[in-house]
């Protein structure tokens, strides 16, 4: 608790500090390549009906939105006088972003990663190591994201005097959900400006995948007060909504209940006694048993709608986006693409659907080849 109090104080102190903001803005524009493009998908729009746009977080440095938060927190860690960064990672995108920020800002970096995820996101393990980061394999529990977070927290409670825990999503104890949202809200700010310039109006819907939920919150936050803009979150439906086969916290009425995990009160997949359930998703980044607390609020207040896409639907979306638009999405982001294409028929030709394309799919090549295999020949 001492650690999160110190972090809360530091964040409050620096978040509006002109020098901090200037430095972060410099890193985001001159290093991370922001603003990212807003791409109009002519081919998909023609085929599916409404105007479909992609917010191209896959074009940000390191290939996903994760860099926005990693640079923000790493800079904050420097201001706090910390010399070491630790982080958890599922898909490896947050780990790579942290490794990158650590290298750029001169902070020693260590990343915890479940051994199952290390196998399915091998490319990202190499990338982290290339940047001088020590990747620590996590063998406990389900050997995925949840367990990597446990291990990072266990490290931090002993190391916080010199170490910052660079948490990668809108999860964990306060101030993380708020702070990560703030650092990611640059996505929605750019999106709104780009959309007004291009179309002179707001979109009908913004669709994003939701694991912990940082890319979704980042894309939505600027639109919270624009009640006519539908916010649609897509969870991982895995092999279907049966125990242990998915990570759709909001879709499983029996196991997805409010609970406390890793310092957060939110919807959590669990058994009747409160033991945390195991999850499955083809995408490591969505394979997590809890969801960011702000998503729980948006769901209960009905400001956002949540649904899910299954493994095979995400894979099909990868194929469609490659063939029709020449873009290889991350498996996580493909869940959002799959759902957007599914609901497109319910919209008019003039409606605008934005998909937040949170990351690129190079890291998933092995999984995709294994699953689609012959179909690509």
């Amino acid at each position: 608790m001492g650690a999160v109090h110190e972090l809360t104080d530091a964040y409050e102190k620096y978040k509006d500090d002109p020098k901090f903001k200037r430095e972060l803005d410099y890193l985001l524009t001159q290093y991370a390549g922001r603003p990212t493009a807003l791409t109009y998908c002519e081919n998909l729009s023609r085929e599916y009906g409404p105007k479909i746009y992609l917010k191209r977080e896959d074009l940000a440095h390191t290939g996903a939105h994760k860099i926005n938060n990693a640079l923000g927190q790493a800079l904050l860690a420097k201001y706090m006088g910390k010399t070491r960064l630790i982080a958890e990672t599922g898909a490896g995108q947050h780990g790579v972003a942290t490794a990158t920020a650590g290298a750029k800002l001169g902070l020693k970096t260590e990343v915890y990663m479940g051994t199952i995820d290390m196998k399915r996101q091998e490319l990202n393990v190499f990338r982290m190591r290339l940047m001088g980061t020590n990747v620590i394999p996590v063998e406990s529990g389900s050997k995925t994201l949840k367990d990597a977070i446990n291990e990072t927290m266990r490290d931090w409670v002993a190391s916080f005097p010199n170490t910052h825990y660079l948490l990668g999503s809108v999860l964990g104890p306060h101030p993380y959900p708020m702070m990560v949202r703030d650092f990611q809200s640059v996505i929605g700010k750019e999106l709104k400006e780009q959309m007004m310039k291009r179309e002179g109006r707001l979109p009908s819907a913004i669709v994003a995948c939701v694991g912990g939920g940082s890319n979704a919150i980042g894309a939505w936050y600027e639109f919270m007060g624009d009640k006519d803009v539908e916010l649609i979150g897509v969870e991982a439906g895995g092999r279907g909504i049966k125990g242990g086969e998915h990570a759709a916290r909001f879709a499983d009425e029996k196991m997805g209940r409010k609970g406390v995990l890793q310092g957060t009160y939110s919807y959590v997949l669990q058994d009747g006694y409160g033991q945390i359930a195991t999850t499955h998703s083809i995408s490591a980044g969505l394979d997590y048993s809890a969801v960011g607390p702000e998503h729980s609020m948006l769901r209960d207040f009905k400001r956002a709608k949540y649904t899910y896409a299954k493994d095979d639907e995400a894979l099909e979306a990868v194929k469609i986006l490659c063939e029709k638009e020449g873009i290889l999405p991350a498996l996580e982001s493909a869940h959002a693409v799959a759902h957007a294409l599914k609901i497109a028929k319910d919209y008019d030709k003039d409606d605008i659907i934005v998909i937040n394309l949170s990351g690129r799919g190079d890291k998933d090549i092995n999984t995709i080849i294994e699953s689609l295999g012959d179909k690509t020949k």
């Binding site: 608790m1 266990r154 002993a158 190391s159 609970g259 406390v260 995990l261 409160g274 033991q275 945390i276």
Partner: protein, 261 residues
């Protein structure tokens, strides 16, 4: 038996409390009852029974593994209370994580503690700032909600704990304060922080006995902590390692107990 009665009884004899932790249901519920009886006979003064949780954030590899074994062997909250009810002779303390209590219902959980003879509750992932509702449920059911204090806790947070304690004057003399010997998680350590006496003194200002845990594994460490002023010593992982390796427990516990005299 209330915890305060035990400390009073030991005080008269000039002894400190040996507090032992075992994970309930590891390797089975029946074995837990047998092991508990064995270590109580050997000198355990207060028994901490862990209700295993799938994601034990404050625990090191030894207790994590014990928790997983217990859950795999079928331990759950209902069976936990059934098992605890079969163990008597010393005050019993439940150690678990908040989600299990929250899902069971705070009132119902506190009542079940009382009904199975548990008079203390430790919840490492529940910060004092958020502990109000559970504290109330515990007070109404004769259970002490025990606070964990880290050696680097700020004065401000110490005050928060102090305020919680003094909200009910009658509670000031019950239970104990759990002082972590080191920052971090549970688990046997070779080297322990040499100087704790200053912190122990500070924590005693809260008005409760101070029990030190995290990392204690040997009689000479127990002796050292007693010399530094600890009122109780907590040993967990070192005991669980012996349980798991099917080593002799009685002589180990006796050697720890001897160091508290």
């Amino acid at each position: 038996m209330r915890i305060s009665d035990k400390f009073a009884e030991l005080g008269k004899k000039g002894e400190k409390a040996l507090i032992l932790y075992i994970s309930c249901g590891d390797p089975s519920a029946a074995e837990t009852v047998r092991i508990a009886r064995e270590i109580i006979d050997a000198g355990c003064d207060i028994l901490e029974l862990g209700l295993p949780f799938s994601d034990p954030l404050a625990d090191g590899p030894t207790i994590q593994a014990a928790s997983q074994r217990a859950i795999a062997a079928g331990m759950n909250t209902d069976r936990y209370f059934e098992t605890c009810a079969q163990i008597g002779g010393v005050p019993k303390v439940c150690m678990t994580y908040y989600n299990l209590i929250f899902q069971y219902g705070l009132e119902r959980f506190a009542k079940a503690c009382y009904n199975s003879g548990i008079t203390g509750l430790i919840v490492p992932d529940l910060p004092p700032e958020e502990s109000g509702p559970l504290k109330k449920a515990c007070e109404e059911n004769g259970v002490d909600l025990i606070s964990i204090v880290s050696p680097q806790m700020s004065e401000e947070r110490m005050d928060t704990i102090k305020n919680k304690l003094s909200s009910d004057k009658s509670r000031m003399t019950e239970g104990f304060v759990y002082l972590q010997s080191v920052l971090g998680i549970t688990g046997a350590r070779e080297d322990m922080r040499a100087q704790l006496s200053g912190v122990i003194e500070e924590v005693r200002a809260l008005g409760l006995p101070v029990a030190v845990g995290f990392g204690v594994s040997k009689p000479n460490q127990v002796r050292d902590l007693v010399a530094q002023g600890a009122d109780g010593i907590i040993v967990g992982s070192a005991l669980i390692k012996r349980i798991n390796a099917k080593e002799d427990l009685a002589s180990f516990v006796k050697s720890l107990k001897a160091a508290t005299r």
